[in-house]
């Protein structure tokens, strides 16, 4: 690759090209530079600068005279609510992620099979993607509130069971969302799963379609049962797609906000709602909000780096 080509795709090492060389390079690539400038400006103004500014705020104090100081960080880590928020975020993420993977696999395997009106069913399965997050949160309220469908179902179930002589179950209507504890976290995780299941399903479906049919045929001639074909052929060949789904979804799951806000409110904070609560009235504290944001940013960065290393990197070398 020549120097100018390298510079054109923006290798940082080529920033320090000698002045004369730079002038010539610039004349040669005027159009490319002009085309790239809007994107660079967009990323700078809307992403890089806000992140840097948040970083700066997170190190500032209310008085403004103690920059840089880690005081905001020490104060949020000392806060029990913040630690709970981190714990809750991790619980919700792991819970929704594992439900998504299992259900996504089942749905993808179902949609991969040939059956009547498969195209229609595949389209229907995508519907949750088109529902605004806040609306899906509202739908979940219908399911999980004290007079919601889940409780009604439980009553029906308990009545059925009570028909058996000698059984006398009692069921109290539960208010799943505002109960606090694992029930609230569970509803948030279910809501999140419902919302993004189509994405996970699509990733798995793409993976399933990349496995050629004759590999399964070879395996069945070689003596594999259906279950063995799934365990020894399908699953190992889906590993890159599972990795992709896990990491992409993890990035998303940690910054959960709307669903947690609608379903859990302040009862069980997650990082997103904690940050919102710090920033918005009545707290009005942008400094701790900023430092909590940076912590969240750090967690998400871990997964982004993992994605680049395990998913993007591998597909490039393959």
């Amino acid at each position: 690759m020549s120097r100018s080509q390298e510079a054109a795709i923006g290798r940082p090492t080529d920033v320090a090209v000698p002045r004369v060389g730079f002038g010539r390079w610039f004349r040669k690539h005027k159009l490319e530079v002009a085309l790239v400038i809007p994107l660079v400006a967009y990323v700078m103004v809307l992403t890089v600068v806000p992140i840097l500014d948040t970083f700066r705020i997170s190190l500032s104090g209310r008085a403004g005279n103690s920059f840089p100081s880690a005081q905001n960080y020490t104060s949020i880590f000392a806060s029990r609510v913040f630690r709970t928020a981190i714990k809750n975020t991790i619980i919700v993420s792991l819970l929704s992620l594992s439900m998504e993977l299992v259900l996504g696999m089942i749905v993808a395997l179902t949609l991969h099979a040939k059956f009547f009106a498969r195209g229609f069913v595949r389209t229907v399965a995508l519907i949750p993607l088109g529902v605004p997050t806040i609306v899906s949160g509202a739908i979940m309220l219908l399911l999980f509130s004290r007079s919601g469908y889940l409780n009604s179902l439980m009553f029906v179930f308990v009545d059925l069971v009570n028909n058996i002589p000698g059984v006398n179950l009692e069921f109290q209507a539960l208010s799943w969302t505002v109960a606090g504890g694992w029930r609230t976290l569970f509803t948030v995780a279910v809501a999140d799963m419902w919302k993004v299941l189509p994405i996970v399903t699509l990733i798995f479906l793409a993976g399933l379609q990349s496995i050629s049919e004759d590999v399964y045929e070879a395996a069945s001639v070689d003596g594999a049962t259906k279950w063995q074909r799934f365990m020894r052929i399908t699953l190992p060949l889906l590993v890159p797609f599972i990795t992709m789904a896990i990491i992409l979804r993890a990035i998303d799951a940690f910054r959960i906000y709307e669903l947690a806000l609608v379903l859990a409110g302040r009862i069980e904070p997650v990082l997103g709602t904690y940050i919102g609560g710090r920033y918005l009235p009545p707290t009005n504290d942008p400094f701790t909000a900023a430092s909590a944001s940076i912590v969240l940013f750090g967690i998400i960065m871990i997964f982004i780096v993992a994605y680049l290393k395990f998913v993007a990197g591998r597909s490039r070398s393959a």
Binding site: D214, V215, D222, G223
Partner: protein, 397 residues
């Protein structure tokens, strides 16, 4: 090892297509049988029914005397080699080859030994730890063969295993597979669309068309005694020349006339067949390219049955010279020949435009002086003429 028997086996696809129609075929223990035919002839479907990968609509498939219609592939004790090799991409070569044994819970040391033996047999022992994507096409093909061999199955089923290789490698693997069969002696059913592959490898060749078995016999007998136009045109390369002709009496004997040419039919040939019944009716005459020769280059001097032709093109191959010449008679346009011309392996099949001309091919001694653009005289071996009934396509004999 086992024999395989197909009895009135039929496969009807859900859309109503009869892929295989009442196929009867017996494959003896240790025999190498090739199913050959153009695409859509049902040869792969037939093989997949033996493997258990395709449903059998009616009829029975027996392996080692046992009806296997309702057995899943894994209970049929057969190994299959696929056209695209179908190697397991996530497994090493050794794991690919040992997969079936592992599923059968064969002890690890035994698997390792059998894999090693098979790898040595195929010359792939250096690649055992590689993944399929790190191998060339020829190496993958060998791994696919190895995966079948380690199983020591009752039969090998091979579905166009060489069609993804380049021409040179294909010829080499052809010999290797034939050699392997000689050494292992396992019953083998082999599917190909390439008649050269079929006749060079097979103990017996089954020619299929439109799901129907046309003829099954040894390669030499298929070449010498084709039962119909289709088999006659399919077996042999370059393909048999075919032309509408008329058998008439002349002088004391009979001649066959096509265009402005005339060939005297030997009396023996006439008596031994039903050709008499077709006198003065239209027949289709078939002449193999090999049955033409430069009259100056045959041991005994031939005075009759010499065709005066104008050579349009000659191809010098060193060991032989192929010449093409036009005959002033229309090309044969029956369903048989149309089916043939859609197949890539048949060169110079009858031209499809309706004109009073068809191209003949002759395979001559390379010492011939016949050259493109010049006139030439060709001697025909009249004892080796083929006659076909134009309405049924069946051979007259």
């Amino acid at each position: 090892m086992a024999d395989i028997a197909l009895e009135s086996v039929t496969r009807k696809f859900p859309d109503g297509t009869l892929a295989v129609n009442e196929l009867n075929l017996e494959i003896a223990e240790g025999e190498f049988v090739v199913l050959v035919g153009p695409s859509g002839s049902g040869k792969s479907t037939a093989l997949r029914m033996i493997a258990g990968l395709e449903e059998i609509t009616s009829g029975t498939v027996k392996i080692a005397g046992k009806v296997v219609n309702d057995l899943p592939p894994r209970d049929r004790d057969i190994a299959m080699v696929f056209q695209n090799y179908a190697l397991y991409p996530h497994m090493s070569v050794a794991d690919n080859m040992g997969f079936a044994l592992k599923l059968r819970k064969v002890p690890k040391e035994d698997i390792a030994k059998r894999v090693k033996d098979a790898a040595e047999l195929l010359g792939i022992e250096d690649y055992l730890q590689r993944k399929p994507r790190q191998l060339s096409g020829g190496q993958r093909q060998r791994v696919a063969m190895g995966r079948a061999i380690v199983r020591e199955p009752a039969a090998f089923l091979m579905d166009e295993p060489l069609s993804n290789l380049d021409a040179k490698l294909r010829v080499q693997m052809r010999t290797e597979i034939a050699g392997l069969h000689q050494r292992l002696g396992t019953t083998t059913v082999y599917v190909t669309h390439d008649q050269v592959e079929a006749v060079t490898m097979a103990d017996r060749v089954a020619v299929l068309r439109d799901g129907m078995l046309q003829q099954v016999d040894t390669p030499q007998r298929l070449y010498d005694y084709p039962v119909n136009l289709f088999v006659a045109g399919f077996i042999g390369s370059p393909a048999m020349n075919m032309v509408p002709a008329r058998v008439t009496s002349k002088d004391s004997g009979a001649v066959v006339v096509f265009g402005s040419h005339e060939i005297k039919i030997p009396a023996k040939r006439l008596q031994a067949s039903k050709l008499e019944e077709f006198k003065d009716k239209e027949v289709i005459l078939g002449i193999r390219p090999e049955d033409f020769e430069d009259p100056d280059l045959i041991p005994e001097r031939q005075e009759e049955n010499l065709l005066e032709v104008k050579v349009s093109l000659s191809e010098t191959l060193g060991s032989e010279t192929i010449i093409y010449f036009d005959v002033d008679a229309p090309a044969v346009l029956t369903k048989d020949t149309m089916d043939l011309s859609s197949d890539a392996s048949v060169e110079e099949a009858a031209a499809s435009e309706p004109r009073n001309e068809s191209t003949f091919t002759a395979r001559l001694n390379p010492k011939t002086k016949a050259r493109g653009g010049e006139a030439a005289r060709l001697a025909v071996d009249a004892s080796r003429l083929y006659f076909f009934d134009p309405t049924t396509g069946r051979v007259i004999g």
